[in-house]
Symmetry: C2
Subunit: 285 residues, 2 copies
């Protein structure tokens, strides 16, 4: 496959991810012009200053009509609304994607509002950082990352190919996935671990004098709880059903373990740990 | 404080920890003779072969009566029984400790069976490895580790000082702690995180196609679930009360989070993550 070239790119939202897309395409010489749309002047200025975008504006109308490729990089909960505002402004043939880390609510909204063949195809590039803001954007952020791409029969094949080429050209490995399946998987690989990480920290910190007994296990298990609460609030709300389903399962497993331990049932307690060990091995295969 | 010298050391159990104590004292020239008691010839042979012990036997009677310092390094659940068998064999002035990672059941047993002033003082050196067996023992294993030492008014001060000197001479930082408080703290810093790590792996592995969505968060959160199930069975059984108390708290927190998410209560969901973030910061201070 020849290296694809993108003409005019519009980024809606110029944080870490949007900035990294802009820088990544510009530094590789794969795009002729990058416009950034945002509502905070400070972010737009920072994105301009670090070379992630060529033009900054607070008005979608100024850049969407001339864009060939639009990437929505706002927080996930806002994406359906942004889609509604972007859709009437698109020029024929333009392709639209997003970077939301949950997909079912976004893709369902697009499917319900967009005539087929749909030129929006949802993406979830699995790359990020503890840092945020365009000043930390990195043209290599997506190198070797996985990018999950909505597998939808209603998607326009040309738009889909263009969006897949976008991620591939930034160094990511594109994997097709059904949005509902996607959300269930990320609930288990990321959201429920995050919820339990916060839980471990919260109940442990109620104990006085914890300091001397903290080891690497505790550090590992609470590392992700350091994430930004507002981001995780939005992720949880946007993946509510899959998370609730997973938490139900978690509560049942935990109750079963509690009963085994209460009963001093050594075989059942060992089986629980053995299941966890085997499951980890299977998951990381 | 001058460097302490130990004359005759007996290790009951010659795995990773026992072997590391033997090697650590021998390589520092702090002990005149190290005897190892075990019931598996293969472990005793390996401990001899790697220089962790000078003499190997399967009979406590052969080495305890001449030992000045005895360290019990068997699995925690066996320690009360080993104490019962060691106590009648001790020579006057000998000091006894252990390396069990739970303390309340061991120290309560010692308190109930040992006349005051007690020459057994429980230890929990917080060092270890994924590896096990004397062939992986390491004379530097305890360097910069914390060793929790039972703070009991019935303990003989001379025995206590000797045991504290043992750990300090191996490079550990000794911290006094009440055994019941100890067990509650390690339930939160280690045992409950382990139980939840296994839980995350178990429910995640039920999903098909998880591979592409696994990231560092999942790896971190399930790392400790790779531990040996039989060891964790014993730890859980030996710290049953503190773990059940912590799991009760965990279940309540989780149920509260579920209700907030079910109700789309954004403020309560954010408060949950904020509490986790703040708690981690406080715990790691």
């Amino acid at each position: 496959m020849a290296t694809p070239t993108f003409d005019r790119l519009a980024l809606v939202g110029v944080g870490l991810l949007g900035g990294s897309i802009g820088k990544g395409l510009k530094q590789r010489g794969l795009v002729s012009h990058v416009a950034g749309v945002g509502h905070r002047a400070s972010s737009l200025d920072a994105a301009l200053a670090c070379g992630a975008i060529d033009k900054a504006t607070t008005h979608l109308e100024e850049v969407i009509p001339s864009a060939d490729l639009i990437v929505i990089c706002t927080p996930a909960l806002l994406i359906p609304d942004v889609l509604d505002r972007v859709r009437p402004l698109l020029k024929p043939g333009a392709a639209v994607t997003d970077v939301g880390s949950t997909k079912a609510h976004i893709c369902a909204h697009a499917a319900a509002t967009w005539p087929a063949p749909r030129r929006f195809v949802g993406s979830h590039p699995m790359a990020g950082s503890e840092k945020f803001g365009p000043e930390h954007s990195d043209p290599g952020l997506f190198v070797n990352a996985v990018c999950l791409l909505e597998s939808s029969p209603e998607a326009d094949p040309a738009a889909r190919a263009r969006i897949a080429a976008l991620w591939a050209s930034l160094g990511a490995r594109v994997v097709d996935m059904d949005p509902v399946h996607h959300d269930r998987l990320v609930a288990h690989s990321s959201h429920i671990p995050h919820i339990l990480s916060a839980l471990i920290a919260t109940i442990a910190a109620r104990q006085e004098g914890l300091g001397p007994v903290i080891g690497n296990g505790f550090r590992d298990m609470t590392r992700i709880a350091a994430g930004r609460p507002a981001i995780w609030r939005d992720i949880a709300l946007s993946n509510r059903d899959a998370i609730l389903e997973g938490l139900e399962e978690a509560a049942e497993e935990l109750a079963q373990f509690k009963r085994a331990l209460e009963a001093n049932d050594a075989a059942a307690v060992e089986a629980y740990f053995e299941a966890g060990r085997a499951a980890r091995e299977k998951a990381l295969q």
